[in-house]
């Protein structure tokens, strides 16, 4: 086999033979790939490996950061006053937010979430009289298009809650509940628009019918305030922002804070008046009313604080354990015993 004289040079240059890979065909044309760092896979790179020197400090640092964060969150959450249904005295001087809560109400069901027409809610005239097919079966009623169409709008929460304070004299004082500023700014000012402006809504909605389960048509949601009527009614907007989970709460009203020294809700007896319109028994749901103050982290939710404390402690503990293991086993991890 090895019978012919081989004229190859050391680095594989051939004379006259067509080449493949690293050999040159002739002096003029070379198929040799460039000797650049990119093509020869020699790019400068950072090559991290998990050594004890990086992992253990990282664990300790994470532990030391998470635990204080967790404590801070937990303490903040504890300071938030939240009570449901029965009132207890409070000394807060900040805004108090009133929520209604529903349980076992699947606003996140796929068919339910799809059942709306954002173009119609944006005030698009053609969508007003011809809503999208997604709204079925809440699309047409009495031969006319429903405005607003869809199941989400149809199931609007329509209980009214009133809060009274019985002071020392025995008089029943109505606590003023602010109904604006409860929806997202972007929702109220961009996403939801009344067709043809905010004035003369009755005319604008002519030719449409109200949703099947509503008592009043959409232009009667708040006739006293044209900035809160029709599609841009804030209760309506809040409801249209579907909840992610079957148990949720939605902002209903805000109780404005008074002077700095006066508590927002002074101690005493309170009476909550509920116009019970919204039927929840049919799907085994429950309703509740929540009054809550707010902090920088939102409502009262101790979970995040507890979770941070837990994870921080686990991290710290793992750091200690790994440190012990590292000390015991690191003498074995000598590079000299690489088999070769």
């Amino acid at each position: 086999m090895a019978s012919s004289y081989n004229a190859k040079e050391e680095d594989g240059h051939h004379s006259g033979a067509p080449a493949h890979g690293g050999a040159a065909a002739a002096a003029a044309k070379s198929k040799k790939p460039d000797n650049t760092a990119f093509k020869q896979q020699r790019l400068p790179a950072w090559q991290p490996i998990l050594t004890a020197g990086t992992v253990l400090p990282a664990f300790f640092v994470i532990g030391l950061i998470f635990i204080p964060i967790g404590i801070g969150l937990f303490v903040t959450s504890n300071n938030i006053r939240e009570f449901e249904v029965t009132a207890t005295p409070t000394r807060d001087t900040s805004n108090v937010f009133m929520y209604y809560g529903l349980s076992n109400f699947y606003q996140n069901h796929r068919r339910y979430v799809k059942s709306r027409d954002d173009s119609q809610l944006y005030g698009d005239r053609s969508a007003l009289t011809n809503p999208s097919k997604e709204c079925e079966p809440y699309r047409m009623s009495d031969g006319q298009a429903i405005a607003p169409c869809g199941a989400i709008a149809n199931s609007l929460f329509n209980d009214t809650l009133e809060l009274y304070h019985i002071d020392s004299n025995g008089t029943r004082n109505t606590i003023p509940l602010v109904k604006k500023g409860i929806a997202w700014w972007t929702d109220k000012h961009v996403k939801f628009r009344n067709p043809g402006g905010n004035n003369n809504l009755t005319a604008a909605f002519r030719g449409t019918s109200k949703p099947v389960n509503w008592r009043k048509p959409v232009y009667d949601l708040d006739p006293s305030d044209p900035d809160n009527n029709g599609f841009i009614n804030e209760d309506f907007i809040v409801w249209m922002r579907t909840a992610a989970l079957p148990t949720f709460r939605k902002l209903y009203r805000i109780i404005q804070k008074k002077a700095v020294t006066t508590p927002t809700l002074p101690s005493g007896r309170y009476v909550l008046n509920i116009s019970y319109n919204y039927p929840v028994l049919s799907f085994d749901g429950r309703k509740r009313m929540i009054l809550s103050t707010i902090s920088w982290m939102g409502g009262k939710n101790p979970f995040l604080g507890i979770a941070y404390i837990t994870v921080g402690s686990i991290c710290f503990f793992l750091g200690v354990v790994l440190l012990i293991i590292h000390h015991k086993y690191d003498t074995r991890n000598n590079s000299a015993d690489i088999p070769n």
Binding site: M1, L43, I49, K191
Partner: protein
Amino acid sequence: MKDVDGNHPIRPRATPVLQEFAGEGLRTLALAYKDLDEDYFHQWKRRHHEASTALEDREGRLDQLYEEVEKDLLLLGATAIEDKLQDGVPQTIEQLSKADIKIWVLTGDKQETAENIGYSCNLLQEEMNEIFTVSGNSPDAVREELRNARNAMKPDAVDSVFPSERSLVKGPKVLMDEEVNGEHGLVINGHSLAYALEHGMELEFLRTACMCKAVICCRVTPLQKAQVVELVKKYKRAVTLAIGDGANDVSMIKAAHIGVGISGQEGMQAVLSSDYSFAQFRFLQRLLLVHGRWSYLRMCKFLRYFFYKNFTFTFVHFWYGFFCGFSAQTVYDEWFITLYNLMYTALPVLGMGLFDQDVNDAWSFQHPRLYVPGQLNLYFSKRAFFKCALHSCYSSLVLFFIPYAAVQDTVRDDGRDVADYQSFALLTQTCLLFAVCIQLGLEMSYWTAVNTIFVLGSLTVYFAVTFTMYSNGMFLVLPSAFPFIGTGRNSLNQPNIWLTILLTSTLCVLPVVTYRFLLIQLCPTINDKVMFKVRQTKASPPPPTRRARIRRTSSRRSGYAFSHAQGYGDLVTSGWFLRRPAAPRPLGPAHAGRATTGFSPMGRSAGYSPTGRPQNAKAPGVEVTSLQMYRTISDAAL
């Protein structure tokens, strides 16, 4: 043979010249001639024709006729041809053997030639316990020789070919590797191989051959080469690679799993039928130990990570099903689902699959054992896939339930809603992206600038695209397509949202880091050890300089003459040529062989003597010549 010129006899001058040529490793040829009478020739031709068409004893009669005419030739002179092994062949074979690759040589050369080549390129070694030769002329003789060899290697071996023959597993039987004490070599002739490859004896042959460290088959026909490769493919759970450079290697190259052709003087047939081709045998080392290894590593990391990110992405929906009435509502924004694999995680994983390396090429050569994980299929197997799925399951649990619990009954810092579907979707998808990006960071071990740009760029692109799609502008263009308007602005400015993202990402990644760190500490793999060593050295080591190669311009080297059965076999075995009178020889480029004028205590390449002369005996005044390397066509069955 008579001398041409009666006055000046050639033979006394020819003989030492031939010996000198052979001593330098050239293939010698003596030329002689004879005038034939025309009538005699015609008569001889007629008899030759009769003999070649005879029905009985054709071989014998032809031999007789040849003997008759090849008499009384007149010696003309002697010629010598050099044929040499390519550079780097012994080192390559040594490295590949260290990488647990079994190397077999299938050559058409004679047995002595093949053996010499085997010794000269490090395949057969002095330290080997025994070299078995199988050259029987009948099936029984061959079987006997194979059995003897096997019994010598492993005296207590079970006689039946498959040790676990009683298993009821259907399907192709696989010959398992067997442990033997010591290193052995096997040399088998072509005609014996013909019997050994028959159906009744092939397993016997394969078993014996696989117990040996090196196998050399000589006088092999091209068809037999392919048959040997197919035999290994069929009965062993091994990947085969065939490398050759001539047209007679084409069948073997095509039969193997991977065919490598060496392009060169012999033409392009081998190249055209191969999967890979290059110009020199030594490039095989780089192909396997560097590129093959990197390719396997990259492929496996890519696959594992790809499955992980998609399983995690999908399992979250499974958990959400429990909370959305099993209505198949997606947790994420529809645009996110579209763009997740297309834009947000495509480039980083592609970058990892293109650029990742565990150690650079110099280190790969220094530690051929790094090749072993690929052979054992460690990085991506059913077990690895199952672990990946388990990891995804855990990640998806964290990625759903932490946001779920954090968002439960939570509101913004101005009392408004943040537990709505759209904010929840944004929260979970951001958590997911951070978690998979950090996981990618843990998988990658080679952060080039390109990779860094891809990873950080993908995160940036995610935020950019998300904010664009949730902006007023896009909503005004197509209200029904971009319903998420305002979500980014209203939820991502809440500190508790970011705290949730931080917690989720950390919790996803923590077990992985712990697990990997524990593995490195308690049972480090060869990769871990080498990477640790690299880090300690903090620079790429120089290529091993244990044998400095000098660029030779002269082609005269010492070695063996090997081409004829008669003639100089005695010369070869006498070892006469290993000792030369200390004639002054110019050093430098004309110096034969290695830079070492002495001999290196390790390795084959300097001053090896196949005749068994001890290397350490350096007689004064004798210059040890080093070994010739002959180019050969070899078959490397992995």
